[in-house]
């Protein structure tokens, strides 16, 4: 039986009528630069600081929160291309990431880390940005492979975004094409260090000049 479904018209992504990069930068500002603590938490820490010696409490609290966030970073399974196969190998039995407390999760709503593994194309960029937006806030992004870092071997392709940090702010870059699981694990450990050294004021340990 030939059932003809109504083919829905796919609304064009928002960047269609963007003239140039400046307008796109202005539009992308809609995402508040998330710092890693909430306003209520900030006001409480200000209050605590008014007491002499209050810093002892907040640094201890900071250490505790960073330890908790560091040791259970859940990556969203966002495999794009060849690096996704190496990411799967890292998630699987021999190079187990669950030792680091990372449970590969399918939906962005429950994950803290987005591992961009593969080539980001211009058709995929709005989707990738929407999934990054839909992740709850203390979130990090790791760019895996030279395609995600800078476009890689396909840099001169007309349909390839020259690096994923043009779409979302990235915290750790892992080189390689594809990076073997050992170097991805190294990148994940670097990310955990970065999370562990997160100061109360919310700046990243090493501010990313390009994006911040």
């Amino acid at each position: 039986m030939e059932i003809k479904a109504p083919i829905p018209v796919i609304p064009a992504p928002i960047w269609r009528d963007i003239k140039d990069l400046q307008e796109w930068e202005r539009l992308r500002q809609h995402r508040p630069v998330g710092d890693k603590h909430s306003a209520l938490f900030e006001s409480i820490t200000e209050g605590v600081h008014s007491f002499p010696g209050g810093f002892v409490v907040t640094t201890a609290a900071d250490a505790f929160f960073n330890w908790a966030r560091k040791s259970s970073v859940w990556p969203v399974t966002f495999g794009l291309a060849c690096c996704a196969i190496e990411m799967m190998a890292t998630f699987a039995s021999r190079f187990d990431v669950e030792r680091l407390g990372m449970v590969p999760w399918a939906s962005p709503r429950h994950s803290d880390l987005m591992v961009v593994s593969g080539t980001v194309t211009i058709k995929m960029a709005p989707m990738l940005e929407r999934i990054y937006d839909q992740m709850p806030d203390p979130k990090w992004a790791l760019s895996m492979g030279s395609c995600a870092n800078s476009g890689g071997p396909f840099r001169h392709g007309y349909h390839v975004v020259k690096g994923v940090d043009r779409v979302i702010p990235i915290d750790v870059y892992v080189p390689g094409c594809p990076p073997p699981p050992e170097s991805l694990l190294n990148g994940l450990l670097l990310l955990q260090d970065q999370i562990a050294h997160f100061r109360r004021t919310g700046q990243r340990a090493a501010p990313n000049a390009k994006v911040d």
Partner: protein, 117 residues
């Protein structure tokens, strides 16, 4: 009266656990809601069509059946624990109870609710 103290403490712990975990999430979590974040998640694409659609009744009936047999399970546990004290009467009572529910199950089976058309 003192026999109820552990129950009260237990209820307190349950309520405290719920309240504390929700409050901690609200206080410590950096809530940054903005338009794109609150959009419904459809695998990365824009949500197409509305979800407010008339669903086939099959979904609802399966949920209904589950509730019935879940209640049955709720009664089975305490009954099983205290069976030695109840003796033969306990078994008879539970048999009547289960047979009534089995009647409902047979009706559902004959109405072909379980086969997913």
């Amino acid at each position: 009266m003192s026999g109820y103290l552990p129950v009260v403490i237990y209820l307190g712990v349950i309520v405290a656990f719920a309240v504390v975990s929700l409050a901690a999430a609200r206080v410590l979590g950096p809530a940054r809601p903005f338009a794109a974040k609150l959009e419904s998640y459809e695998c990365g694409a824009e949500p197409i069509g509305q979800a407010w659609v008339q669903f086939p009744v099959g979904f609802y009936l399966v949920a209904l059946l589950f509730i019935v047999f879940d209640v049955l399970a709720v009664f089975l546990f305490p009954w099983a624990l205290s069976l030695r004290a109840l003796g033969a009467w306990g078994i008879l009572a539970m048999l009547m109870f289960v047979s009534i529910l089995m009647l409902g199950w047979v009706y559902a089976y004959r109405e072909r609710i379980l086969e997913w058309k």
